[in-house]
Subunit: 385 residues, 2 copies
């Protein structure tokens, strides 16, 4: 086990309709609230009105900024930071999924910084303060509600980059399972893959003496598959949504990674699919994961044997056959969720493989379990054709 | 799943010899430090000197209060609170296990209260402020390093009582596995039982839609048994101590109880054995657990079937036989750790059963999975003869 430090300061508030409490969580932090969200879905569902009512009932003064897109854009982060400065905003309430939360974190840091917002993502500047962020979650998947990370995209240059700062860890996150029952099936599928990937990025590790976190990873990924599939077929099952939201949270709140060196190569491979083709994050991981596995298993089979036996419950005695069965089974699971696991299935010809491969490792090394060169990335993309 | 709120504000600092960093963790919180500890073991091991040196190097001014006993006493809490007031203490550093941490929490709250310290435990007064508490852990078992609970004993009246306040949750806890390698085997045995019990108190629950936390509980209790037994035979294995310390922490930091109604009846039964016979906490649970299980399984067998199959890996098809096998196997495991699982094996005649049974439920109801009356407690104690 590696030395580590860990805490989980975000207050998770789980329960049906608890967005009605949001005013009482915000008001002690700041009464001038930037309400940040995506498109029209929260207006259609009524969540927008419930949140506004709760904020106003608690005496909060609300400024609005909607329009966050999946793979959130740096331009909106810049606009949000300017708005916060102008309006004297005291806290940001993100009502949305990972994209909205990531956008809110960027705004939170950029609003108190003297640099251009993109500098925080390139590393040219480091946040030394941030407005507090709170969350009403609308998609349990990204795990951004407890994390210190913000990922945004600069579309003109196909750049999808992140920054990490404890200052932007949300103060609270309301997980009200009734909110999730209206999610479209393709988003349920994407969410399931994202949660699975968050666990696998931690599972694939060279760290030793990690018996407990191995088991916790296995338990969490098994549960994510089981519940994700159930919800894909029964999106209205509010009780299971509560379980799934907890699973998605634990998958990425850091508990499972304690004392482990994590990999994150698959996310690097997937991010370029989003940056180049504006593909949803979960959908990109359904393509990136099997290809990454096939490539890395050749060099380091032992963890893949464990994956095959303990997670996919495959049986074959021959090692290569066992591993291939498990990866095929995972692909079959993704297909069952209506997802493409190859670029060709997603109607992508793969003309940009070389450029994407270069881009994966352009700003920082990717992968720990398998450190990826641009050449490695190209081979993985080729396996994903 | 039940509605819940959860966070984990304590910063866990895991790694060999990281007690040498303790000064840098304390100084930003408070430089006038009360160093609180038990007996001579930390002096003999050299930990005391390393901690003092680290505090002084960081410019902290140290006041000392040693002498905490297992099942810590209210008298020392009172004395500590008076000392804090007198010396203008700004933070308390507990160097020890659950008893020292619980004592430190009591002092932290009593130092800023106008009442007698015992009033906090009886409920006659509620803490509205507390000095900050930090921890250098010497026994990974009690999980007190992340909890809001303090348990102390008033020996003249056989009272073992607790209070709960978020104000006393430790700010940080240093888990340095090298510290644990000198623990005597009986303490390793007691620690293992305590960790197992912390998980089982959460596992035995009527809450539904708890697939994930069921699996996490099962993973954690299996790991605790496996590692605890290994350490009982190989107390010098510092890498496994790191794993065990993480397991002990997760067992009681609240992660496993999210969305579940927890039981805590067994702890109630065990506490009286400590209060009446000054029995170590873990040792008391080795007696209380099998008896509680035999009693409650008669009324509510389903969870015990799951315990038998998924935790103890027992096979019998007949339900009663299956459950009894699993409980017997757990007893055999406790025996393997050199522990008594009956009062008679601990050379206790059981003359106080009636008084203990009354005492379990004297101040508050005990048990949620099975709500215990004094009559229930008496029957459980009789099963433990």
């Amino acid at each position: 086990m590696e030395a580590f430090e860990f805490s989980l300061p975000t207050k998770i508030i789980m329960g049906k309709e608890r967005y009605d409490e949001v005013g009482q969580w915000c008001a002690p932090i700041g009464k001038k609230v930037l309400l940040h969200y995506g498109g029209g879905s929260i207006k259609k569902s009524g969540l927008y009105d419930r949140v506004r009512d709760a904020l106003e009932a608690a005496g909060c003064e609300v400024t609005e900024l909607g329009g966050v897109k999946p793979n959130p854009r740096i331009e909106l982060v810049r606009a949000g930071a300017a708005l916060c400065k102008e309006a004297g905003i005291e806290m940001i309430l993100a009502v949305g999924g990972g994209s909205v939360i990531d956008s809110a974190k960027g705004i939170a840091a950029a609003a108190l910084a003297d640099c251009d917002a993109w500098d925080l993502y390139t590393g040219a500047a480091v946040a030394d303060a941030a407005l507090p962020v709170g969350v009403v979650l609308t998609i349990p998947a990204a795990g951004s509600e407890c994390s210190a990370v913000s990922v945004v995209t600069k579309q003109d240059t196909h750049d999808k980059r992140s920054f990490h700062s404890d200052l932007v860890i949300p103060r609270f996150a309301i997980l009200a399972p009734d909110v999730f029952t209206t999610l479209p099936r393709n988003q349920i599928a994407n969410a399931t893959v994202d949660v699975i990937s968050h666990v696998l990025e931690r599972f694939f590790s060279d760290s030793t003496h990690v018996t407990l976190t191995d088991r916790l990873c296995i338990s969490t990924v098994e549960t994510a598959m089981q519940l994700g599939l159930w919800l894909y077929d029964h999106p209205e099952d509010v009780d299971v949504w509560g379980e799934f939201a907890l699973t998605a949270n634990i998958a990425h709140n850091g508990v499972l990674g304690q004392g482990r060196i994590e990999d994150w190569g698959t996310h690097g491979i997937g991010h370029e699919l989003s940056a180049f083709y504006d593909m949803a994050h979960g959908a990109s991981l359904a393509i990136a994961t099997p290809a990454w596995m096939r490539y890395v298993a050749q060099e380091k089979p032992a963890r893949f044997v464990q994956f095959a036996r303990e997670i996919m419950h495959d049986y074959a005695q021959d090692e290569a056959q066992l591993i291939e069965s498990a990866i095929s089974d995972l692909e079959a699971f993704f297909h069952r969720l209506g997802l493409a696991t190859r670029l060709s299935e997603a109607d992508l010809a793969g003309a940009d493989l070389e450029a994407m491969a270069q881009s994966v490792v352009k700003y920082k090394p990717r992968g720990q379990f398998k450190k990826l060169s641009a050449e490695d990335c190209l081979r993985i993309y080729e396996l994903a054709r």
